[in-house]
Each structure stands twice: as C-alpha cells, then as structure tokens.
C-alpha cells in the first residue's frame, strides 16, 4: 500500500514541489517560533540566575530539584484546570444539546451568535466584569439585602472556577454542538423503536455518539486552562496561584529565568503526559474508527 502511494506521488513530481511549497510557511513558523524557542528554554532551564537576574550559562539540575518550591502553583493548576474543564463540559453539554436538537433552525443561528458575542470583547474586560459582579458591591451586596452577610466570593477558588467556566465555555459548546448536530436523528428513532425510553436513548446513543465532541472540547479547554494566568490573577487575587502566574512572577519580577524555564518545561511535560493519557483513554475505549467520525 505504501509502495503504491509512493509510485502515485512520483507520477506527479510537480505535485510534490507544490506540496513542499505550500507546507513551507507553516513549517518555518513552527521551526522559528516554536521549536527554536523551546530549545532555548530547555538550555536555559539547566543554567543559573545571573546576580542581577537573567541567565548565566551552567549545567545543573538545581532548578528541576527545586520545583517543589512552587508546588502550590502546580497543585492549583492541576486541580482547578481539570475541574474547570469538567464543569465547562457539564454546563456546555445541555446547552449544545438544546441548540443542536431542540432549538428551531431560526433561533438556533441567533443563539449560536449569542454564544460567540462575548468573544468580541477582550478577555481582560470580561474578567474585570466578573470581578465587579463577584466583588463586595456585586452579588454579596445583593445577598446582604436578604440577610446573608459577609460573603466573600472574589479571591477564592470558586471565583477562579466561575471565571474559567465563563471564559472557555464557547470552546466547549461548539465541538459538542457539531457532534450532536451531525448525529443521525434516525438512530434516535431506531432506539425508541427498539423499546428504549428517552433517557436510555440518550445514555445509549446520543451520549456515546457525541463523546468525540466532548473529547475535542475538553482537550481545547484543558490545554488553555493549564496555561491560564489572567483569571487566577484577577479573580484569585494573588491567593489562588497558577503555574502561569508563577511564570509571570519568575520571568518579570524576580527575573530568575533559568528557574522559570524549568517550571515551563515541567508544565509542558505534565501537559503532554496528561494529553497522551487522555487520548489513549478516549480512543482506546472507542476502538478503531473510520475517518467518517472526525
């Protein structure tokens, strides 16, 4: 099969040059802006902090051995990012289901646009808005009117979670919406015809057939949440620290670049490991599928 494909490619020599040409920009982009900087970061991570801050060439594992000093940031990221992803999926699924299955085609488009509209404003602004809503003049002020006093919402894990779910919800909604929208409605009729009550049809047909959408959305949201720093910085008020905040601190405040580089590499390694495990789990459970399913 490979041989056959090879001959076919050789039969179209011009096609090969075109392919190379078309791939060149993306390849150059990845080489110059991703792989090269990554190499620099790896080299830095084995170095030492210069006395005035920055990088001093060296070869030591001290930075990696010292990672535990930022354990709280790792812990926060590794608990809140998956939790935020899960909450996102739980909130997004019913909405995506409504949009794809229940909403009439006319209002569907309108609602889909409404899902994206918040993205037209800067993320910073939107998170500031939440700061006001959750802050002392927002929801706590309203609740104090009915007798619930001194409720602290902002600067908590709860506030960070709210911000994360809000900020990344559309990225979860769309993949799930697409997977539900292309679901053949006759399969639902077939299930009903075979005696399955509506909720069993949902569990046995709708849900398993839309898991690809959930997996895609979760991956997108999880990756972005792992690197998040604006939301914890604003809504966590310095009390809920993410690795992203640690990196900002290390590179810009204490200027300990080598240590920051080691933290970055650790973050990348953790992300790669969890993504690979996740993909294995999702794909392994669902068996080999033809490319008709994403």
């Amino acid at each position: 099969m490979t041989a056959a494909a090879g001959t076919r490619d050789e039969g179209r020599g011009g096609g090969r040059a075109t392919t190379a040409l078309l791939l060149a920009p993306a390849s150059a982009f990845f080489l110059l802006l991703l792989l090269l900087p990554l190499a620099v970061v790896i080299v830095y991570s084995f170095g030492e902090r210069a006395p005035a801050g920055g990088y001093l060439p060296a070869f030591s594992f001290d930075n990696y051995l010292n990672l535990a000093a930022r354990g709280q940031a790792f812990l926060n990221t590794l608990t809140l990012a998956p939790l935020g992803t899960l909450l996102c999926a739980l909130v997004a699924y019913p909405l995506a289901y409504f949009l794809a299955v229940r909403a009439s085609p006319r209002i569907r488009t309108l609602l889909l646009v409404l899902v994206i509209v918040p993205f037209w404003a800067s993320q910073l602004l939107r998170i500031y808005a939440w700061l006001l809503i959750l802050g002392s003049k927002g929801i706590p002020a309203l609740l104090s009117l009915v007798g619930i006093e001194d409720l602290l919402l902002v600067n908590t894990r709860f506030a960070v979670l709210v911000g994360m779910v809000y900020g990344y919800l559309p990225l979860m909604i769309f993949p799930i919406y697409v997977s539900l929208e292309k679901l053949d409605k006759r399969l639902l009729e077939a299930s009903s015809d075979l005696g399955a009550r509506p909720w069993r049809t949902f569990l046995q047909v709708t849900l398993p057939m839309s898991l690809e959408g959930v997996a895609t959305g979760s991956l997108l949201v999880f990756i972005l949440l792992m690197g998040e720093f604006i939301i914890p910085a604003l809504l966590g008020g310095g009390k809920v620290f993410f690795i992203g905040n640690a990196l900002v601190d290390l590179f810009l405040q204490s200027r300990n670049w080598p240590y920051g580089a080691a933290v970055s590499i650790a973050l990348i390694a953790i992300m790669l490991a969890s993504i690979v495990t996740y993909m294995r789990f999702v794909l392994g459970k669902r068996g080999q599928r033809p490319n008709a399913f994403m």
């Binding site: 053949d184 006759r186 399969l187 009729e189 077939a190 299930s191 009903s192 015809d193 075979l194 005696g195 399955a196 009550r197 509506p198 069993r200 046995q204 047909v205 398993p208 057939m209 669902r286 033809p290 008709a292 399913f293």
Partner: protein, 374 residues
C-alpha cells in the same frame, strides 16, 4: 369490528388523518392489517405511505381518527411502548456498536433485563436466521449494503414484533441483490408467521411479495386488493397505470346493452367492450385500458382472434428486446401510439416484426377494461 370467529386485525386505522401544519400527509385512512399477512403500501413519493408506516410505529401521532394495535387504541402511545419494530430505509444501524450490540439492543431495553447467556444465544440464533452466523463482532462499516440490511432485519426480528414494518428496505440495494432479498423476505415472513407491512414505490416489489397491496395517492387510499386483483381489476386509470403498464384509449359510451358496451373512440371508431359493474351511463366519458401483453399482433387479419373488439392497421415505430418478451411501440390512425408485448415463444414460430413494418393489431373483447373518468 370483525364478525364472529374472525381474529382481531393486528393493525386497524379508522378515519385517520395526519396534518403537518397546512399540509395533509394522510387523509381519512381506513384499513386493517390481518394477522400474519404481508401487506404493502405502494405509491409515488409524497403519497403518504411513509407517514402511514410511521403512525403504526408511533413516530407520528394522528391528527384525527384512531389507530388500533391488536384491538386497542394506541393514539398517543410512544414508539418504545409499541410491540412493533421497523427496518429503516438506510438501516440506521448504531455505528458505535458491533453487530451483536445492534441485534441485542431491543432485548437489553426490557425490564427485567434477560440474562447475558440468553441474550447471546438469541443474538446468535437471529443472526443465523438472516444467514449472518458468526458476524457478531463485525462493525457496520465493515459490511456490504446487503449485510447491513440483514443486521437491521435481525435487530427488529429478535424482539418478535407483532408487526414488522419495512420502510423501502431494498431501495439502496442493487437489482440482483434486491431480487434475492425479496425472495428471502417472503420466505422469512412465511416461516415466522409475523405480519409484515412494507412501504415501497417499486410496483414490482409490492406485487411480487405481498398478499395484499394498498395503493396510495396524494394522502388517500385509492385501492386495496391482492396483486392479481389490482392488476386485473384496477379501480381507476391511476391504479391501472401504476400497477403494470397499460394503454389507454379515450372515448364515450354510445350504447349500454345487457353485458356489453359500445364505445365511440375520439378517432370515431366504434367498438364493443365488456360492461363493468356498475355500468356507466350512456354518454359517459371513459378510458379503455388494454395491457400491452393483451395486444395481439399479426401480419394478416387471419392471425387475429375471431372475438376481436377492434382491429386496426398499425406501423412498428420501435422494437425493444426484453429477453422473454419483445416490446413494440406502434402507431395507428385510430388509436394513436400504443405498446404491445409479444412473448418470445410466439416469435420463435414466426420471424419478429421489423421497425417500419405495417401489420394488424387487435384485442379480444374481454381484455379491455372500461374505466370511468373521474
């Protein structure tokens, strides 16, 4: 209600109408499906046959009238509570389940859930029934259309439905496979004794497989009858045209005698025909339907039957060799263009007619059907 002794019909529709907004998909449907029979709904697309099937399945609820299953009104009863199962047009197999998972699906919805060993045994049995033994672990995309069709059949039959509903089940198969499946479906139906209700737009399919056929048009039932009755005694020109091919000659009733009519064709020719019941009034506009295979062709008038209703001179415009038959398109001054079908056997004795050849055409008096224009 059926008279004493007769069994209750499995399905009965009483004045059922189904509207989708302004559109009336089915109007005043009144019919019954007898236990153990093979009934087909035949009509062009949009005639309401699929809506009718979906009302039996429970996917659609009637806007007016009553649907009965085994003597009980089931209006408003959802599909998952009805003892009927459907074979969908494009099979609608669950792609995330293997063949065994698809076939076992219905059994696994029951409460209490049958034991695992029993489910496995019945899946194997049912797959054997549709000649797919050992296919348990296959995936739907690894199978041909015919095999997927059998899985869909097994998935429905394992539930031992009171009625098996088939929605254009053979439409996606190629011609040869379709013939094989027709025979197989018919055998299966006889062997299992399950009532089959099939929807099709393919008249050959409906006529070859069914005990009775319901002809539908624009949401209404036009005629119900055995394939032979529909072919021999179509209720009107629509049925005569839809069930098999037919030549139609328009005319007016000139005179009504005891058992025969005299009809004046548009071209002025006068001819006799057997009188239908009820007899049309003198002066009524009628169509005379003559099946192509009842047209008799001969080079000379001596070859024609003595009781010919009308003998005309005609010229061969076109000839199509169909194997067991040859189809001739002819033109005559009295009749216009018409078709004639000559069996291979009679062409073995005599040399076939050539395009452009002039000859005599006739039909016997009993062969023509008089259909009143509506």
């Amino acid at each position: 209600m059926p008279s004493g002794g007769a069994s209750v019909p499995v399905v009965q529709f009483r004045d059922v109408t189904k509207r989708f907004g302004e559109v009336v998909a089915a109007r005043d449907l009144d019919f019954e499906v007898r236990a153990g029979e093979f009934l087909s709904f035949l009509g062009p697309s949009g005639c309401g046959k699929t809506t009718t099937l979906r009302m039996i399945a429970g996917f659609e609820q009637p806007s007016a009238g009553e649907v009965h299953l085994e003597g009980r009104v089931v209006n408003g009863v959802p599909a998952y509570r009805r003892p009927v199962n459907m074979v969908f047009q494009h099979y609608a197999l669950f792609p995330h389940l293997d063949v065994a998972g698809n076939v076992a699906y219905g059994l696994l919805q029951r409460t209490p859930r049958p034991p695992r060993a029993e489910v496995r045994r019945r899946v194997a049995e049912t797959l054997e029934l549709v000649r797919l033994g050992g296919f348990e672990k296959r995936r739907s995309w690894e199978m041909s259309g015919g095999q997927q069709q059998r899985v869909a059949l097994a998935r429905a039959l394992i539930n031992e439905p009171k009625v098996l509903l088939l929605d254009e089940p053979l439409a996606a198969l190629d011609r040869k496979l379709r013939r094989d499946m027709q025979i197989e479906l018919q055998n299966l139906q006889r062997r299992l004794g399950i009532t089959f209700v099939l929807v099709t737009h393919d008249q050959e399919e409906a006529l070859s497989m069914s005990d009775r056929v319901v002809i539908m048009r624009e949401g209404r039932i036009v005629q119900i009858g055995s394939p032979r009755a529909l072919y021999d005694r179509p209720a009107d020109r629509y049925v005569a045209d839809f069930v098999g091919k037919s030549n139609f000659f328009e005319g007016r009733v000139e005179r009504v005698a005891d058992d025969s009519l005299e009809i004046r064709l548009a071209s002025g020719a006068l001819l006799a025909a057997a009188c239908p019941a009820p007899a049309p009034a003198a002066g009524a506009a009628v169509s005379l339907a003559v099946r192509p295979e009842q047209m008799i062709l001969a080079r000379a008038a001596e070859g024609l039957p003595p009781d010919a209703a009308l003998t005309v001179g005609a010229r061969v415009l076109n000839r199509i060799f169909l194997g067991e038959h040859t189809e001739y398109l002819l033109a005559s001054e009295t009749l216009g263009e018409f078709l004639a079908l000559v069996p291979r056997q009679s062409e073995l004795n005599e040399r076939p007619f050539e395009t452009g050849e002039s000859l005599q055409a006739a039909w016997s008096r009993a062969a023509a059907l008089v259909l009143e224009e509506r």
